[in-house]
């Protein structure tokens, strides 16, 4: 199988504390990979390694390789800014900018100068909102503040904002944890549709959600990648005792 991203022998340190130990995981192209595990197991840290968001934390230090299309993203020649246009991110709490709906989506294209004329920008905004399944709901009120949208709409707006810069991989850090079941279902449906164009990695505490949206599931436990398999297989016949204990609710 060809991997869109391939993580090899990844070790992550926060100061003296090691957060990830020898993680090896391939992310198949145009598939959704779910990362599950108890709190503090390193799954979110792992996610942040994939677009170097750990660079914000000064004491974070990474060893090993993270390959994107065969190129190590931690190589000194790699520009973090252009990396993040290829690997976008959606966060736990919907966090639109305190600006208009339009400006939220247009922000990425603006800072990366992805358009020449205003009408081109309009097209990018519309296309992204359509893809995020939000266009019908907001097309008449693009100049309104994004903060007035509901939580679920805000999260889909954040997804639209992320895909506006044409990423290849989208990282999602518990994108539905602040949403009600209907809004969650909409986002899950969206994730399934986005799989046609994007490789998706999603961190979730909701095992059913991992089972529903992903094709591959990886179980992390205290900094180690315990088991990563096809989702159906992992949820019916996990190989490792710890995985079995965690997903059946016998953990700890």
């Amino acid at each position: 199988m060809t991997f869109k991203m391939d993580v090899k022998q990844l070790n992550l340190f926060y100061g003296d504390k090691q957060a990830l130990f020898n993680v090896n995981l391939g992310l198949p192209a145009l598939q959704t990979t779910a990362l599950i595990g108890p709190s503090g197991c390193g799954k979110s840290s792992f996610l942040k390694c994939l677009n170097r968001m750990n660079d914000i934390v000064l004491q974070a230090h990474v060893e090993g390789q993270v390959l994107l299309d065969g190129q190590d993203i931690y190589a000194p020649s790699v520009d973090v800014v252009s990396l993040r246009t290829k690997v976008g991110m959606v966060f736990q709490k919907p966090n639109p900018f305190p600006r208009s709906i339009y400006e939220n989506v247009a922000y990425g294209p603006r800072i990366h100068r992805l358009f020449k004329t205003k009408s081109e920008l309009d097209q990018i905004v519309e296309k992204s909102l359509v893809r995020a399944g939000l266009w019908g709901e907001v097309k008449d009120r693009l100049p309104q503040p994004a903060m007035r949208l509901s939580g679920g709409q805000q999260q889909r707006l954040c997804i639209a904002r992320a895909i506006a810069v044409n990423p290849e991989v989208i990282l999602m850090d518990e994108p539905c944890s602040a949403l009600d079941p209907i809004a969650t279902a909409k986002v899950e449906e969206l994730i399934d549709e986005l799989r046609e164009k994007f490789t998706i990695v999603i961190v979730t505490h909701n095992l059913q959600q991992a089972a529903r949206v992903s094709q591959q599931t990886a179980f992390f436990h205290s900094g180690y990648l315990v088991e990563a398999r096809e989702t159906g297989a992992l949820f019916t016949t996990p190989h490792d005792e710890r995985t079995q204990g965690y997903i059946t609710g016998r953990y700890g």
């Binding site: 019916t236 016949t237 997903i247 059946t248 016998r250």
Partner: protein, 229 residues
């Protein structure tokens, strides 16, 4: 295996197991009584067996209800999911076995009006292994005992051999004296039902195999490495 963090979940799974165990014990008794009623021409016992069948049907719906409830409320995964699914299958198969016992009891009611026939004793030998099979299959389910399940699976061959032998005996009786054709046909049906009990028990063993390993049972994988009995 550890207990669940949610105790009620454990309790529900235990209840599921105990319902199946209860169903198994009852069915075991039914088979034994049905066979006895045929051999001893005991119409009262046969009627008792027929009357008690609905108890087992009731238990089956109870198992189904509880399993569906667990699926809906606990959304089990991995071994829990496989256990619940196996319970659903097994309850269905045990209910079928109980139906076979009822059938045997019904033949007893027909046979009691016919002349006594010596070969009827052969049924008690024939029923021994299927009874052991259902007992062991359910034990394998309860204890998640893969080896025991495989043993049960292989026992069915012996049942087939004994069944064939019994058929030959009955056939030769029928050829010897055409008067025997009436009761012999009934015995033939009863023997067929007993043989089906063995088949169903083998199915239970396959369900237990799938539950434990997570793989569908394949005959080719398991014929060669027959476990020691």
């Amino acid at each position: 295996m550890n207990n669940h963090i949610v105790k009620a979940y454990d309790d529900e799974l235990k209840a599921l197991h105990s319902l199946i165990r209860h169903m198994g014990e009852l069915t075991f008794e039914q088979i034994s009584k049905a066979t006895q009623s045929i051999i001893e021409c005991d119409a009262v016992l046969a009627r008792e067996v027929i009357d008690r069948d609905h108890e087992i049907n009731l238990l089956e719906t109870k198992v189904d209800d509880l399993a569906i409830r667990i699926l809906a409320l606990r959304q089990p995964v991995a071994s829990d999911l496989r256990t619940v699914v196996a319970a659903l299958k097994i309850s269905n198969q045990v209910e079928r076995i109980a139906d076979y016992a009822t059938n045997i009891a019904k033949f007893a009611l027909i046979l009691k009006d016919m002349p006594l026939f010596p070969e009827v004793k052969g049924l008690s030998t024939l029923v021994q292994i299927p009874m052991r099979m259902i007992k062991d299959a359910l034990k394998a389910f309860e204890l998640s005992d893969l080896n025991l399940a495989l043993q049960v699976w292989h026992m069915d061959r012996e049942v087939d051999v004994l069944y064939q032998a019994y058929l030959h005996k009955i056939f030769s009786e029928m050829i010897e004296d055409p008067k025997n054709v009436g009761p012999c046909t009934q015995l033939l049906f009863a023997a067929k039902n007993i043989e089906r009990i063995g088949d169903q028990s083998q199915n239970i063993a396959e369900a237990v195999y799938t539950m434990i390993t997570g793989k569908p049972f394949k005959e080719s994988d398991n014929v060669k490495n027959e476990p020691k009995i």
